[in-house]
Amino acid sequence: MGSELLFFSETVISGLMAGVMYSLVALGFVLIFKASGIFNFAQGVMCLFAALALYDFLSADGWASQLLGFTIPLWLAIVLTIAVMIVLAWLIERLVLQYLVKQDPIILFMATIGLAYVLEGVGDILFGSDVKPLDIGIPQGASDWALDTMGLYVEKLEVVAAVTAALLVAVLAVFFQRTRIGRALRAVADDHQAALSVGISLRAIWVIVWSVAGIVALVAGIMWGTKSGVQFSLSLIALKALPVLILGGFTSVPGAIVGGLIIGVGEKVAEVYAGPLVGGAIENWFAYMLALAFLLFRPQGLFGERIIERV
């Protein structure tokens, strides 16, 4: 391959991989929005919180290890973190959502911003606000195989993230299509009132969906935490996931994935080829402009439900 082409494909591949990382965050948003119509701004902080909890369980001087007297193995730490996220989901439903059921979407959105502040504060107080390197054995560095055979630089961590994301989507798809709870979730997403009338407990569904979103947040938190350390800025990836959301549509899981890939590639290519012309660091807003350009043609996003309005 010529060096120009090689460079271009490296850019595209790293963009695709970065896109997968965005998709992981966007997935959590989509799940909650679909089931409850809540635009959950706290998703990014949930990623941070999950990663912080996992780090704390794993480290030898963390609370759990000192309480038990031995260092917790990885699998147990992950199980414990998932338990934490489920308890968190339950608490959120109990303390916040059940009182706000019939409010305007914007009120709920604001409530989730408040929630983000609370989680951020609690996370800081419990675990401290310094940068923590999270290492759970995910390989890092350049892939030797790709480097030797094609001369391409491919980051191993990002490959792992891509595979994990694919697995996660597959598991979610099976969960939604094949299980009883999944069917209930889809019923709620279709029509709240009809779901209620056939005896589905809306509150239980909300707890479940927030738990699932918490688990997705954990996966995203692990990937991002491994990449750049567990720190406050992790919660800002929520802002990166928003253009992915509007591009893919708020209600579509495949949309989150495809949107993530488009944003990832667009952003990288723009940064590399157009960035130097205008002074660089355009990553911050380029994704939004790209998403905006798409929206002008399809106001509901690529895969969003068609917006039908009646008077």
């Binding site: 706000l100 929630l115 983000a116 951020e120 504060g121 939004y288």
Partner: protein, 358 residues
């Protein structure tokens, strides 16, 4: 007993259309304005001006602006920080390019420039709505802050990338810069906010305001009864941005004195102003003031309470403050999702019946 409108008969259309038709309300408002203009300037000192009054006035202005857009026209915007930056940088460029220009004109022009930018970023609202629009306005936020950070012309190519306000006089009295007296800065901001609030109150009562509210309540129905969505939405963006731009101008020029785009006009600003109007009350000018007062005073109160009262360390207090702020926001949303303005109304209703509750 005290608060009752019995016997206050309206004998003219003018009286019927008054902003405060009830005499007690009117006197209360006159009294507060008089106190703000005649009492506060004599007791104000540096601490009160810089920690409480100037931020309150600047944020109240921004909150009115955002409330016009979000509360009255129903278009959620997360770009307030970016629009405030436009106001601030316009002020900076205007006073450095034309130093002889009157500062009042400068603030108004900054508002006008922001209005143009606001209309530009408001164009997507014709096509998209709701949260899609909210996220789209984030494009304005990030793009504008990036622009002011990267393009040297906006900060006159100085090495730090900061903008600093030169001292300026209005009618021979210094109002900006460190040597201005707190009373002068305060009065300058207060005059702007008072006039703008009055104007806003009248805009929302008039034809334009009514068309905004129709769009907010249901845009298709509004279109059917003959309101042009393009005109209504873009005018809402223009007027709102005009206010937010003036707020940014006051915020930077009078309160901060010097600013750096990412710190001073980040996304947190957008959320802060949005919180103000939601906690204060969507679709209420009074609510904008109440919300701004609450969000300015609460962190000061929490900090004083924890650091001085309980002796908590400053760093821990910061974290607890963030957490408590979140808790309070959620709490207020649960208790009264329509904000302080609604509480105020309920209070007045209760007062009318007092002391006989039925």
């Amino acid at each position: 007993m005290i608060y009752r409108e019995n016997g206050q008969f309206k004998t003219s259309y003018q009286a019927d259309q008054a902003i405060f038709p009830i005499a007690q309300d009117r006197w209360f408002v006159y009294a507060s304005i008089a106190a703000a203009f005649l009492v506060v300037p004599f007791v104000i000192d540096d601490y009160w001006a810089n920690a409480v009054f100037l931020p309150f006035l600047a944020y109240a202005m921004a909150a009115i602006g955002l409330n016009l857009l979000t509360g009255y026209c129903g278009q959620v915007s997360l770009g307030t920080g970016g629009f405030m930056a436009v106001g601030a940088y316009s002020t900076f460029k205007l006073v450095t390019l034309f130093p002889e220009l009157n500062f009042i004109v400068v603030v108004l022009l900054s508002g006008a420039i922001t209005a143009v930018v606001g209309v530009l970023f408001g164009i997507p609202s014709l096509r998209i709505k709701g949260f899609y629009l909210a996220v789209a306005t984030l494009a304005a936020q990030f793009f504008l802050v990036w622009l002011f950070n990267k393009v040297g012309w906006f900060f006159n190519y100085n090495a730090t990338g900061q903008i600093t306000m030169p001292p300026l006089e209005v009618f021979g009295v210094l109002v900006t810069g460190p040597r201005a007296t707190p009373a002068a800065s305060y009065l300058f901001c207060l005059s702007f906010v008072a006039v703008s609030a009055l104007a806003a109150k009248n805009i929302v009562r008039g034809r334009i305001g009514r068309s905004w509210m129709a769009i907010r309540d249901m845009d298709i129905a509004a279109e059917l009864i003959g309101i042009r969505p393009l005109e209504a939405k873009l005018s809402a963006f223009a007027v709102s941005s005009f206010y937010v731009g003036m707020a940014g101008s006051l915020y930077f020029a009078v309160w901060l004195g010097s600013a750096e785009p990412i710190e001073a006009f980040g996304i947190d600003q957008s959320f802060l102003v949005l919180f103000m109007i939601i906690i204060g009350g969507l679709g209420s000018i009074l609510g904008s003031f109440l919300g701004a007062a609450f969000m300015v005073l609460m962190p000061i109160f929490l900090k004083n309470f924890m650091v001085d009262g309980l002796g908590v360390e400053v760093v821990t207090a910061k974290h607890v403050e963030i957490m408590l702020m979140g808790v309070l926001i959620v709490f207020f949303l649960i208790v009264e999702p329509h904000g302080f303005a609604r509480l105020w109304q309920i209070g007045k209703e209760k007062l009318r019946l007092w002391p006989f509750p039925h």
